[in-house]
């Protein structure tokens, strides 16, 4: 065992953790958040919703099964930095093609390990998500803290435009093509596209700021509003385009950021959660059936229930804190959930939502 290079993590309130550098060397900034999934770090790293964030995994051993070519959720990792208790020295899995360390180095993602991650998580839980930095080049906590304080906060930060695609592309249906879905890419995960394809949908993925007119020109059977990073309140331009689309009664399905956008489209407000929900074990009750599903979450903002108009019904709630987890328009074929029915990582309990959307499109045809 060689003595590792040191790294330091500084939070905006001055709390500092010293550990070892892993992944790329350098310095990185973002909002410090934590994820409680015990598996699925590769999917998490490549989830565009983590743009602008430093992610700490609560499960201490990360990298055990390495990284493979199939389990990526987008074209590259998006986290700004990665914090783990112990990064595995070796990768052990028949699909593994690379170690986590080498993958992060290759993608220039700065990481820190061998810190008391549970202490960090408890700090974030108690004080809220906050700005932070990881550095393996500046060991001076004071100078790093100054740099942290100079970075932008997550509130009012627009990030979808940073992760969205430049050009529209099509993702083909598996087997027979039954529906055509237009997907707004605010940071879409590949597994959403795979789910649609599996259900016989061709998906046209369009950039975040595509206008309503352009979308309608594609003559979609349904519109999907993807997940994505940043503060939903900062996306008023998108909100107004989507509002135009709702007038056409095209079935519409939003998840995560897409759900928060829909909430605003109908006059609701969003707010920032203290430390958000990130993990694969969140209990959600489907109020329409009374059943509980275990779901995958990744969000720092939520829709305020009280702000919603009468025609919007809350269909799902998070049983941990009673926050709004799903909405439905009483008259229009539009619904949304705050979580990730496409999982990846996480349980598959919510896959039925894709079928619900397919049913809406069937009715609309």
């Amino acid at each position: 065992m060689n003595l590792s290079k040191k790294a330091i993590l500084v939070l905006e309130d001055g709390r500092t953790f010293r550990g070892d550098s892993f992944g790329a060397e350098g310095e990185t900034f973002g909002e410090m958040v934590f994820n409680t999934s015990m598996t699925g770090y590769q999917e998490i790293l490549t989830d565009p919703s983590y743009a602008g964030q430093l992610v700490c995994m609560t499960y201490p051993l990360i990298g055990n099964y390495g990284v493979n070519e199939e389990d990526t959720e987008s074209r590259r990792p998006w986290v700004e930095g990665f914090v783990v208790r112990e990064a595995s020295r070796v990768a052990s899995n028949w699909r593994s093609t690379e170690s986590l360390d080498s993958y992060l180095k290759r993608h220039k993602i700065v990481g820190i390990e061998r810190i008391d991650t549970r202490a960090l998580v408890r700090h974030i839980r108690d004080k809220g998500a906050m700005r932070a930095a990881i550095s393996s080049i500046d060991a001076d906590e004071k100078s790093l803290l100054e740099k942290v304080l100079a970075t932008p906060a997550m509130q009012n930060r627009e990030l979808a435009s940073a992760v969205t695609i430049d050009k529209t592309f099509d993702y083909p249906a598996e087997r027979e093509e039954k529906f055509h879905v237009v997907c707004f890419d605010f940071g879409v995960k590949t597994n959403s596209l795979r789910e649609f394809a599996k259900h016989g949908c061709k998906i046209t993925v369009v950039p975040a700021e595509t206008s309503a007119k352009e979308v309608l020109a594609l003559k979609p059977d349904g519109i999907f509003l993807s997940n994505g990073p940043g503060d939903p309140a900062s996306m008023q331009k998108v909100v107004s385009e989507i509002r135009k689309l709702t007038e056409n009664a095209v079935p519409m399905f939003g998840i995560c950021l897409g759900h928060q956008i829909l909430g605003q489209v109908f006059g609701g407000e969003t707010y920032k959660l203290k430390f958000g929900h990130r993990g694969g074990n969140q209990p959600i009750m489907d109020l329409t059936t009374g059943k509980v599903e275990i779901t995958s979450h990744n969000h720092g903002f939520a829709v305020e229930a009280k702000s919603l108009p009468a025609e919007i019904e809350v269909t799902h709630v998070n049983l941990n804190d009673q926050t709004v987890a799903g909405l439905r328009h009483k008259n229009l074929p539009i619904f949304s959930v705050q979580y990730h029915p496409e999982s990846a990582p996480g349980p598959h309990d919510s896959e039925y939502l894709f079928r619900r959307f397919i049913e809406l499109m069937e009715k609309g045809k």
Binding site: M1, L3, F17, F34, T36, S37, M38, T39, G40, Q42, E43, T58, Y59, P60, L61, N64, Y65, N68, E70, D71, R85, E86, S88, R89, V90, S92, N93, W94, R95, I115, D116, T117, R118, A119, V121, R122, R125, G279, G280, N281, Q282, P283, M285, G290, K291, V292, I294, L319, N320, S343, A344, P345, G346, P347, H348
Partner: protein, 1077 residues
């Protein structure tokens, strides 16, 4: 959904005595279930034959029947109690099987009892391999290819489907003998044919080999609303081929990607739905091919299990408690999570640490059994350890095992090392670490062991770190390396060994460098929500969450892993101490590392430290908590062995002083004390060398009892008849040294043995029970049946025993519990040993007397009360006759002679209650799994000195309608007195011999006393066949007499009578309830 209102009274069937494969985890789950249902307002009726359990404490259920778990008895209980429902899923395989039997025999229907939690159809699908396979086929979940064959032709057909290698398992053979793995058609023919011959029902299971695949388990829960959650995933360190109970297991799964894990999760959910387990927990096992991810479902247990107990402890999610609530109609979202208080139970725990379970074996107690791990479980206990990394939890677990000494492997030839690596055995860690240290690559070890390279890498990292410390001066080890060593859970003791220093020096050095542990909480949620339950484990990081209070607090040291000689009885005592002191307003702190127990339920004590019971770990907790007192006398030898060092380190040990403990344990001091008190003791001496042993034995005369000091369960204890055997014993069985002397006592042949439990303090002494052993001296007290009250003791001996007890309690200044072992020979009472601590018989005595003696003892020890405050009589009385009988694991160890002796072999015990000795003894036998024969052929073969007594017993058997059969000598004697008796060959006299008769099912009872050292072979053959074919066998005349008495009683009694503890002790005031608060 709210709770059901159509049921009010619920019957719970426990799992009976502790046996290999069914340990005290079912006391933990059963206790939780009883409490949960009682809290919900249901009337709970419990039946369990095991008196050492917490669940059979009279306050846990409303009606507690300590009665045999047989169809007849439980039917009688149902008829008497008329419960509305039966919860079959918390009493292990025993409870489940009995529930199905009650259903099939129409008892449940007859008395209108509904099954809750699981229905018979789903239990059958879960349990029957064929039905299960078919059900899984229907939902597209692959299971291992193969099937059952009754003929060679059938077997050949099946192997065409499975391919090679193929596994062959004969049905119902002892220890799985006669099976094997075939790599080609020739081998297959040989093994299959011999397997068919070996199986008494000519049946073999032929399966594709998935040896070496990765093994996983998922713990699943479902409610009536069809919500399903996974509580925990477990990965086995040992690949397929080793029983999961014998595997090191790790939670959560370590080497599965999310995609692969979710696949297992989906299959688990589909499986529980398909099998139709309506509510509660199930355990589902999978094998995963490490080459390509192919999955096979192995089995599902539609009930709480050993793994669910582990999963509960590993996550903080109490599976049995929640399962009980789901069974009465609640849904998961209606039940709050105990630990966070704010969130519901309808979630999946996420953990931010690693849990490792390591089994503990007892091969040393079964010479003749091959130390190889396979599909038959052999471990007798387990430890669990929690750490922030796998390395930390593994090495904490290894030190929790209290392993005697590591194997010395220096110079082991490569071929032998490789063979040991390839064939899993109880010493595999020694071999693995030796191989890693000696240049074997991870690839090579993986090739031999199929252990995942990730696990091997973790071991390698620890070995590499050790190499950086090895041979250095302690003060030259850099702080960072020392910190690292502690993060990897290297003990101070290990570091002292590597640096040639003392453990105290390492501790001091560590403290100088500020390298000290912190405590983290088990909270079910990875710190996402605040934890309200102090369930703690140590690690070497920054933040300490122990958050000690400033309340008055008492710390209780538990008994560590279960082993033969130190089992659930001690956990019972620790729990009782905690309950009583909690009620007396102390904060109670439990320290233990055994995941099976009630003591490690986070509900039992105010604070739970899931930690190894070593000096280092205990001191760290003491320094964090600063308890007012520490109890070391309740957890058996494990904490007792720490008493002296803790005392010297200034830890406040309460109760009997460590000096008194030493006075009782130190043979020389103790002999002097007995002399002073004028109490006779068998002639004895202490030897530190073979020469000295010979000298002592010659002085006191053979036979002698020899044993090492400071052990429990008669480990390496033997009766030696001559000098040659003594010499052999001294050279091979033990390492005698000045630190570990060998005790030599005159063996009192044919003496009656007595066990006494007493309570004492400066205000007096109360004798709780004087138990008389059924078997004579020479058989370990833990392996002997015993009866309360004593049946045959002369009044003057009783007085002498009381007198000795009181005097010894005073002389030893006992505060709390004390146990004495005595023997009566030739009208003289001898004291064999005194243990000023809780004994194995405390729970039995407490249940028989109705007085919670462990609770009283703990209150006395804490100085809350004096013994006088309890107003107890000088000797407690028992309102009925109570018999305690042992249960043995011989069936699991092929090749071992199931003979009783001074070394303890039993794993558990049962209690029988009756108005007469015959009734109580009969129930104890039935509870222990012996079906009392009512007629048939009784085989008698006894040694010459027993022949007179044999005549008496034979007459009785004859009158009871048995036919007599005996070997030549015994038969001749019986015929001489006019009894009709058939003569049969001994095994070495020709055929058909007695063993053939046994195998043909001709014999219904065997009375066979040892004929001396010469005819061992014959007796062994008889005992082994009797064991295989379940023929009741007694090897002592006193045991035979008791058994015949039981048969006679049962014949005359007709209908079985059942009595609850609450009825038995109805007129006893609830002592602790009134006095303890």
């Amino acid at each position: 959904m709210p709770k059901r209102t159509d049921i009010h009274k619920i019957l719970i069937i426990g799992s009976g005595p502790i046996v290999i494969g069914q340990g005290c985890e079912f006391d933990y789950s059963g206790t939780q279930a009883c409490r949960a249902l009682k809290q919900e307002g249901f009337e709970v009726v419990l039946v369990n034959s095991n008196p050492a359990t917490i669940m059979t404490d009279p306050e846990i259920a409303d009606k507690t029947y300590v009665e045999p778990l047989t169809l007849e008895t439980v039917s009688a209980i149902i008829e008497k109690e008329r419960p509305d429902a039966l919860l079959p899923t918390v009493g292990g395989q025993t409870g489940l099987n009995l529930s199905v039997e009650l259903y099939e025999k129409g008892i449940l229907d007859k008395f209108g009892v509904k099954l809750i939690g699981a229905n018979v159809e789903s239990i059958k699908v879960g349990e029957d391999r064929e039905l299960f396979k078919q059900a899984m086929d229907e939902i597209g979940i692959p299971s291992a290819k193969g099937g059952f064959a009754h003929t060679w032709e059938e077997a050949r057909k099946i192997v065409e489907e499975t391919g090679y290698p193929a596994i062959i398992r004969p049905a119902y053979t002892l220890g799985g003998t006669g099976g094997g793995t075939a790599f080609n058609p020739e081998e297959f023919e040989e093994i299959a044919k011999s397997g068919l011959a070996a199986s008494p029902i000519s049946q073999i299971l032929v399966e594709e080999s998935i040896l070496g695949w990765k093994e996983y388990e998922l713990e699943v829960m479902r409610d009536l609303n069809d919500n399903v959650v996974i509580i925990c995933s477990i990965e086995n360190f040992d690949p397929m081929g080793v029983h999961t109970g014998d595997s090191i297991t790790v939670a959560p799964a370590q080497t599965l990607t999310d995609v692969e894990y979710q696949k297992l999760r989906d299959m688990s959910i589909a499986c529980i739905r398909k099998v139709g387990v309506e509510t509660g927990g199930s355990n589902i096992q999978f094998a995963v091919n490490p080459e390509n991810g192919d999955v096979r479902i192995i089995e599902m247990n539609p009930r709480v299990s050993r793994s669910s107990a582990l999963a509960s402890k590993a996550t903080g999610f109490p599976i049995a408690k929640i399962a009980a609530k789901l069974a009465v109609g609640y849904t998961l979202d209606e039940i709050p999570n105990d630990i966070t208080k704010k969130t519901p139970a309808s979630f999946e725990p996420t953990i931010d640490y690693v849990v490792t379970k390591i089994p503990k074996w007892a091969f040393e107690k079964f010479p003749g059994a091959e130390d190889v791990l396979g599909t038959q479980m052999k471990s007798v206990g387990e430890v669990m350890a929690i750490g922030r990394t796998f390395k930390e939890s593994l090495f904490k677990g290894l030190r929790s095992l209290e392993a005697v000494k590591p194997l010395r492997l220096e110079g082991i030839p490569d071929h032998l090392l490789q063979r040991k690596l390839a064939r899993p055995n109880s010493n595999r860690f020694s071999y693995l670490t030796y191989a890693l240290r000696n240049g074997y690559s991870i690839e090579e070890i993986h090739r031999l062991t199929k252990i995942d390279p990730w696990f091997l890498e973790q071991l390698q990292e620890v070995m590499q770190l050790q190499a950086r410390i090895d041979g250095r001066n302690l003060n030259d080890v850099p702080s960072e390396v020392l910190q690292n060593a502690k993060e990897f859970a290297l003990s101070d003791r290990r570091i002292s060994y590597l640096t040639n220093s003392t453990e105290d020096e390492v501790r001091e050095r560590r403290k100088d460098l500020n390298i000290e542990p912190v405590y983290k909480r088990v909270d079910t949620c990875g710190a996402e929500f605040e934890s309200h339950t102090p369930y703690l484990y140590s690690t070497y990081e920054e933040e300490n969450e122990a958050d000690p209070t400033d309340r008055r607090k008492i710390m209780i040291l538990g008994s560590g892993p279960n082993r033969i000689g130190q089992g659930i009885e001690f956990d019972y005592c620790c729990c009782h101490a905690s309950f009583a002191l909690r009620d007396a307003d102390f904060e109670t702190i439990m320290v233990n590392c055994n995941p099976e127990t009630v003591s490690t339920d986070y509900d039992t004590s105010d604070r739970l430290y899931f930690e190894p019971l070593t000096f280092e770990d205990v001191m760290n907790i003491v320094e964090t908590e600063n308890p007012e007192g520490v109890i070391v006398q309740f957890g058996g030898q494990t904490p007792l062995n720490l008493a002296d060092r803790l005392h010297k380190a200034g830890v406040p040990i309460i109760g009997t002083s460590p000096d008194s403990i030493d006075l009782a344990e130190d043979r020389k001091r103790f002999s002097a004390l007995l002399q002073e008190l004028n109490i006779p003791q068998p002639d004895n001496g202490t030897a530190v060398s073979p020469e000295e042993a010979k000298k002592i034995a010659n002085k006191i005369g053979y036979p002698v009892v020899v044993r090492p000091s400071f052990v429990l369960g008669g480990r390496a204890m033997a009766i030696v008849y001559d000098e040659q055997t003594l010499d052999e014993y001294m050279r091979t069985a033990v390492d005698a040294s000045p630190e570990k002397p060998i005790l030599i006592d005159k063996f009192l042949e044919r003496a009656v043995e007595i066990d006494v439990d007493a309570l004492a303090d400066e205000t007096g002494c109360v004798i709780a029970g004087i138990q008389e052993h059924i078997e004579e001296a020479g058989i370990h007290s833990g392996d002997s049946s015993s009866v309360l009250p004593a049946q045959k003791l002369a009044a003057e001996h009783l007085e002498t025993i009381k007198h000795y007890t009181v005097n010894l309690a005073k002389a030893l200044k006992v505060i709390g519990l004390m146990n004495l072992q005595l023997a009566i020979k030739d009208d003289r009472v001898y004291v064999i040993e005194v243990n000023p601590r809780a004994s194995r018989t405390v729970p039995f005595v407490a249940k028989a007397t109705g007085i919670p003696i462990a609770k009283i003892a703990s209150l006395i020890m804490a100085g809350e009360k004096t013994l006088a405050d309890f107003n107890l009589p000088a000797m407690l009385s028992v309102p009925q006759i109570f018999v305690k009988s042992p249960v043995f694991p011989f069936k699991k160890f092929a090749g071992v002679d199931p003979v009783l002796g001074p070394e303890m072999h039993s794993t558990g015990e049962v209690m029988g209650v009756g108005e007469t000795f015959g009734e109580a003894y009969g129930k104890a036998m039935e509870g222990a799994g012996i079906v009392l024969p009512m007629s048939g052929k009784a085989f008698i073969s006894v040694n010459d000195s027993d022949k007179g007594q044999a005549v008496v017993l034979a007459r009785r058997l004859d009158k009871l309608g048995f036919d007599l059969i005996a070997t030549y000598g015994t038969a001749k004697r019986l015929q001489e007195v006019g009894l009709t008796c058939e003569t049969v060959f001994k095994v070495n006299e020709g055929r058909p011999n007695i063993a053939d008769y046994i195998k043909q099912g001709e014999i219904s009872l065997i009375i066979n006393t040892p004929l001396g050292r010469t005819s061992h072979y014959d007796e062994q053959a008889i005992r082994k066949s009797a064991l295989q074919f379940n023929v009741p066998t007694v090897t002592t005349m006193t045991g035979a007499e008791a058994l015949i008495e039981a048969i006679a009683t049962k014949k005359s009694q007709g209908q079985v009578k059942v009595r609850s503890l609450q009825e038995i002790h109805a007129n006893k005031k609830s002592l602790i309830a009134e006095e303890g608060r």
